[in-house]
């Protein structure tokens, strides 16, 4: 059931640097500590409940959902982990205390996750241990804040006279704990991603926050529902909650699947021009990778990055309207007017989809030199178009170059710099240089 990695334009060579290792090591260490302390404390009070949550986390880790942008989540497992972290009483009517410690929560979640990792590896699926480690850490944070910090007494013994629950369930403390956990989740995801993509941290954090907010709030709410429902009504809360749980799981899965399909299709159709012999093989994808990396340098939003990616993939699609292909496909050696005509035809094709208007606009304007922006106030060349223009020219120059490797990149950059302030936006060329430096391509 695990969804394979996104195919499509891969990011620039990914890096598993120190940050992702730290997450993995700390996550494993916390998990092991949870197990050890739990055993030292003489096991878990109510093993049946523990086994129930263990199986939910285990199954949840097996049927994860990969959100758009390769973001690994486990809605079912995450909700169960939150629920077990917040569970104080067993019902109906809060009859008995649940009696497990924060360590027990960590132990249950960590062992279930480890078991899922082993099974996934045995089935030859990518278990993504770093994402699992992140979830163990988040669960540890929620359990720690809620069960270990005395927050419950402080918030709900009502110095402010707040009483959310008539029967005295610590609802406020629950909210604080899940918010803390959610923020930690986004923070870890952002630092790992920023390292992987070599992107600036603050825009990355914002993007992760947006991407995880929907499913994150869902998991938090379902987790609270589990804890509150079991306390007030009893264990039969769990089968009832299967409805929102499954709806969440499957709605996100379907959404992620169609997004992935869409991306792969655009990427495949971008090769239409290559198969047709209009452009050099791989040109669209290389330009796309570079463009997205430059876009990240500018701290662009996720949505804008997506538009940039689609526009970069399809920036040459207008060439299809030509009866015969341009020699070597490079639009560099085509007269500017002709180049704009091709771009406009491509934009027409894209516009006829009815939903990609912004992408069409980018494709149309990337044929315009940067300078025109100043000359006629009426034409606004968006940043995305300026990026694609520079990236495409860079790729054409490197491909055409006799020299290989770094020398070719140097020469190409030199050419771009000569056209700076007229053909290419100086800030984009600067960002391109930074991207190349970070990837040690210079």
């Amino acid at each position: 059931m695990h969804i394979a990695h996104e195919i499509g334009p891969a990011p620039l060579p990914q890096r598993r640097g120190p940050v992702s290792w730290i997450v993995l090591v700390v996550g494993s260490a916390v998990g092991v500590a949870g197990v050890v302390v739990t055993f030292a404390q003489g096991g878990i009070d109510r093993p049946a409940v523990a086994v129930l949550f263990f199986s939910m986390v285990f199954v949840g880790e097996l049927i994860r959902v990969s959100l758009p942008g390769e973001r690994d989540t486990a809605p079912l497992g995450g909700s169960a982990a939150v629920g077990y972290s917040l569970l104080l009483f067993l019902g109906p009517g809060m009859r008995r205390p649940a009696g497990h410690s924060a360590y027990a929560v960590i132990a249950v979640v960590a062992v279930a996750s480890a078991a899922a990792i082993m099974l996934l590896s045995a089935l030859d699926r990518d278990p993504r241990p770093r994402d699992v480690a992140r979830r163990v850490l988040v669960c540890a944070a929620i359990a720690g804040v809620f069960r270990g910090s005395g927050l419950t007494e402080r918030l709900d013994s009502s110095p402010f006279g707040w009483e959310v629950s008539k029967s005295g369930l610590p609802v406020l403390a629950m909210i604080v704990a899940v918010l803390a956990g959610g923020l930690l989740d986004v923070f870890i995801a952002a630092v790992v991603r920023a390292e992987r993509d070599r992107a600036p941290i603050i825009p990355t954090f914002r993007n992760e926050l947006l991407a995880f907010s929907g499913i994150g709030f869902s998991m938090a709410a379902i987790g609270m529902l589990i804890a509150l429902g079991i306390a007030i009504i009893g264990m039969w809360t769990l089968p009832i909650i299967a409805v929102p749980l499954l709806v969440t799981q499957f709605s996100f899965r379907r959404y992620a699947a169609i997004r992935r399909t869409y991306r792969q299709t655009i990427s495949a159709l971008s090769r239409v021009t290559e198969v047709g012999g209009y452009v050099e093989p791989g040109h669209s994808r290389r330009v796309t990778r570079l463009s997205v990396a430059i876009g990240r340098e500018f701290g662009m939003r996720e949505q804008d990055l997506l538009d940039l990616e689609y526009a970069a993939l399809m920036h040459d699609i207008g060439q299809l309207s030509l009866a015969d292909s341009i020699p070597r496909g490079s639009t560099l050696h085509v007269a500017p007017a002709e180049r704009r005509r091709i771009a406009a035809m491509g934009a027409d094709v894209i516009r006829s989809t009815g939903t990609l208007d912004r992408v069409a606009m980018i494709v149309e304007t990337q044929a315009h030199p940067y300078r025109r922006m100043r000359e006629n106030g009426d034409l606004e060349v968006p940043l995305e178009a300026r990026i694609i223009r520079a990236a495409s020219a860079f790729d054409d120059l490197v491909t055409a170059s006799e020299a290989g490797g770094r020398q070719a990149a140097w020469n190409a950059l030199e050419r771009l710099r000569m056209g700076m302030a007229y053909e290419y936006d100086p800030r984009v060329v600067e960002a391109l240089t930074r991207v190349l430096e970070k990837n040690s391509a210079l």
């Binding site: 709410a221 929102p244 869409y262 299709t265 159709l269 699609i317 094709v349 990609l356």
Partner: protein
Amino acid sequence: MRELPPRARWYIYFVASAAVVAGVFSAFHVTRWADVLVFAVLFTAADRFRSTATTLTSVSMSVSFIVGLAAIFVTGAYGGCLVALLGGIMTNDRDWPRRLFNPSQYAVTALSAGAAFSLFNIQGEGLVTAPLWQLVAATITAALTNYVVSPTLIAVIVSLTTGLSVRRVWSTSFSWAAFGYMGYGVLGLLLAVLWTDLGVVAAIVLMLPLLVARAAFANYAEQRATYDATVRALVQAVETKDYYTRGHSERVSLIAERIARESGMREDRVEIARYAGMLHDVGKLGVPTKVLQKQGKLNGDEFDAIKLHPLHGYEMLCEIEFLREALSGVYHHHERLDGRGYPMGLAGDEIPEFARVIMVADAFDSMTSTRSYRNAKSVDEAVAELQRCQDIQFDGKVVANLVEAVRKHGWEPTPEDFGGEQVARDVSVLRGSADQGVRRAHRA
């Protein structure tokens, strides 16, 4: 919706008057006004989301249903009626029939469901103390009542405006939702029980995931429509290279979809057949334009170049996971049953199912459309030709399915139909077009 037939108009007035009477009566009997008002606001909030979300699954109607049911459990039948009425009024539907009909319909439904629930005599604290089986039985009774009353009220109005029979509208749109209603009914019970302890917090915790999931469904539907539009636009761009084939891909896609459905394929495989049909010729891009556009006979080399197009198509599409099964259809759509086709020369059962479907659909559309060098054949001639070649070139079963599909839907090349059968699940539209098809087929 503005131009309603008079009978539909009177029906709306009738339901509205019933709702007004019920509302006034309830207002005098209800005791927990505070709860009623909060529930009404929640009902509106849940209902409002519906109008922005594309209706694709039962989730879209469920959240306000859960709130309405919980309101009945907590505040009784009269309270539930008021919640539905007030909540419905606060919902901002634009056109007047909806503005009038929806709240009225909600109120009448809620009152009936509440009456059913009150048979079990569970009130106030009873929600916490009553035995479980009794609660569940009462919930299911209320949900079932809701399930019967609401769709019936709606089916009547749809029937009066469209002229279709009530039974047909009812059965096509609502029968499958039964199971979902039970599940949501129990969620309503959960909300009611938690409400007695937690109040609004319970509603937020329960509604939030459902609303988020619904937003994801809506995004899915939107993305799905975008996807179809994009594939179509790009295929059209490809077709500009080849004068003969304008609109061909979409028509093949439609025929392939119908053949697949006729052969009893599962819906997701029908989908794949549809995309395979859409994209089967995409590889023609790799064929030099002058060969594609050449008038008159092709020489050997030129024919070899054309023969490569299934391979080019395969190369282009092979990375789209979703189409992995459709690939075989694209790659092998020029094989022949006797093994004399290309690119692999597969024979008989070796040819993948999708390819056999595409082969027939492709041939049928080619024959029934005009090419510069010949006129279009009539549907009957084309079918006769296919049947003549069956088991030599085409799979006889597929041909039979095509004949059946043509008999049902008729056939005139209508590219607009692409995607329509899949994405728009609007009952009346679907039903209407199917009926037209049948009528058309009978006339033919």
